[in-house]
Symmetry: none
Subunit: 224 residues, 4 copies
DNA sequence: AATGAATGAGGTTTCATTCAT
DNA sequence: CATGAATGAAACCTCATTCAT
């Protein structure tokens, strides 16, 4: 949606902010993870460069805000799952939900990965605000997990989520489609790198969770 | 400008190449992961900019070469361990060795992480050469692991190494010391992020490996 | 017209563009034909380097634009002459007009000569646009000439203009004032090179045109 | 011919100098008129960069020397013609001979054109020496022409040669094959530039000479 | 004489950010 | 609020020339 007029109402401002985030996301996908220039983002959002700076202090802040949005959605999905199945939530379900978020928003892993790179270009307070929001959700979702999996100790839920997130980030890096990748994989000698992010992540997540929960078989449900 | 001897012999050239890599590494650490400019690398190595370009085609190639060196050392360490203990190698030992590499060279995780970012600025062939070298070592070390852990299927060793690497990369990202980090962690609300890379990684690796090996307790040795 | 700090109106932008071209021209003369760097052009125009790049995609495009401007003026002068005298236009008048353009803008022959050197650094489409504009004027002026000189066949006018242009370019090269030239001409042994561009060109042009028109005396008017 | 050993004898040095010039010429053709770097010239001549600097003070001096060689050959050809046919030499023969030089050495017009560009990078004395040699030949060949064409006054021969040279240089610039040219000529609007250097030059030279000799028809021989 | 490693000035271009309008 | 012109700091890379070996 394009607002031609000035955004006076607070509500209009949010719409405009959204437009910028949408534009940034679209470009992120087109550029395969590369951060588009502010100029391009502005143009895509049908705004002038200066306008973008009215809504974000820094180029990086745009992308951090986009990342925040995705991250919150991510937790929403997770919580929705555990809310629905409660104590009967299975590992596989969790893994699937986890993956689902990335499939729905392919820009998410790109950003998740990039965001750490430009942390230092973001205002300290902005960064803290972002991290705090995440921390709060981590606690919340972690606690729920602890309710579901008795193997998890106090704080173990959040920690497991962080580890899983780390695994996801890392695996993304290793399987991310890049300009060179396709062509590279044609080389026989590089067969070992021919991996599918989704499939691999699912397996790995389940393995990690099982490993964390402890070796007792049967104690961890791996239902479809 | 300090004029050192000229590197006429092939051997001297390697030394000079080394000096450049050392300089790059030192700056990488100082800059906390940021790639220093060629100019700076050159100055640090007490060379002129042009000289650096005699040894590396691009700025990025310098850092890729540095990463390659570290990666090979990494595999060397891994293989040395399994060679020494053979079938009696325990998970904890592996995790410790794994960690040891990062402790010895704090620039390793930085680079491992960054290298994917500038892949596209590196000559395709150079990149393939690098990846092939890694693939070869992955196969080799993976196969050794398969000999040690009967739970691993053919190819499972290399894959487990990759997953572990992914976990390492991701965890690094989440715990990497950055300009903001120290100050941020003072915030009570961010307690959940107060994590130690080494300790966390050790636990996580063991969990992942145990999870991958399968749930049967006792089958996987976790010796000190 | 003095532009305010920012050229907002399309008209102001043209003025600014002009300022850049003026600066480039001034430097061209000072440097005796050498292309000044964008940095210098910018400084001379009292602008920042980046600003220049807002108006021209490449350094070379600046000079091509300057050349285009001069070339169009050149054709204007030619056409004005033939329009004024029509069938009574004499060879000498044409030669004088021809020369006049170079005298008025000493940078013209420099550029005319240099422009071919950096053709390859100019965007293909930009180059085609420039050449097309010239071609169109060549056709137009050539056709007029054909109306005046019955000795010229269809297309002969444009061709004669091209030949004359070639002669001009070449003669410029041979007589162009250069850092060394003045001093060089003091040498007795180089007397043969002591030539005056204007005088020589006038004679040569008339000779060429007479030669092209055919040998019939009296058929070609050489009026003062 | 490659000399592996050091060139001690004066003769050997000339051979080596030759090798450099040959290399420069070959590269000039391959690069379509662009001056190859010293490194490339050296490699092509199977020498080291430093060695080239033993024979030429400057990169530009190499190309000037090459140009001098071609120019002298050019005069040789001209003189051979007039020596052979004497007073019976026709304009067309001269034009053909003139053209022949360029056909035999396609690098000649490239250089002739470029040499003026880098004059200022050549040592003054070297430049004077070159120009003097040319001046001397101009006088000589010019005088011969004056003997053949009675229309030419004292000094008119040399001057006519210079004018013809100018015409040649200019026409070359306008028809020189360049990276863009081929593709450009496909444009209908640029038809007027579709010209053949050889054909055009022949016509133009004859026209110029006839024009210079004066309008009396029949007085100038244009024999096949 | 010959080599080729080392130098470093020099030039182009990009783009985040500011600020006049 | 909105704009987009202006800024100028980076950063990369090339290559003619020098000079230690």
């Amino acid at each position: 949606m394009v607002i031609k007029q000035r955004a006076i109402l607070e509500e209009d401002k949010l719409v405009r902010r959204d437009a910028i985030l949408e534009a940034a996301q679209a470009l992120l996908l087109e550029r395969q993870g590369e951060l588009a220039s502010v100029d391009e983002v502005a143009k895509r959002a049908r705004l002038a460069k200066g306008t973008v700076y009215l809504y974000f202090k820094t180029k990086e802040e745009i992308y951090l805000a986009l990342h925040e949005r995705r991250s919150l959605e991510f937790f929403d999905n997770l919580d929705a799952l555990t809310a629905r199945f409660g104590g009967k939530t299975g590992l596989r379900q969790i893994a699937r939900t986890w993956l689902g978020c990335f499939e729905r928003h392919p820009s998410y892993p790109m950003l998740a990965s990039r965001c750490f790179e430009f942390e230092h270009k973001v205002d300290f307070d902005t960064l803290v605000a972002f991290r705090s929001a995440i921390a709060q959700r981590l606690d919340q979702s972690g606690t729920r997990l602890e309710g579901i999996f008795p193997e998890l100790k106090r704080g173990g839920g959040a920690k497991l989520l962080i580890l899983s997130y780390a695994l996801t980030l890392g695996l993304w890096r290793l399987t991310e489609p890049t300009p060179h990748r396709e062509r590279m994989l044609k080389q026989r000698s590089l067969d070992v790198f021919r991996m599918d992010f989704d499939a691999e992540l699912e397996t790995a997540l389940i393995a990690l969770w099982r490993g964390v929960m402890g070796g007792r078989p049967g104690s961890v449900k791996v239902k479809p």
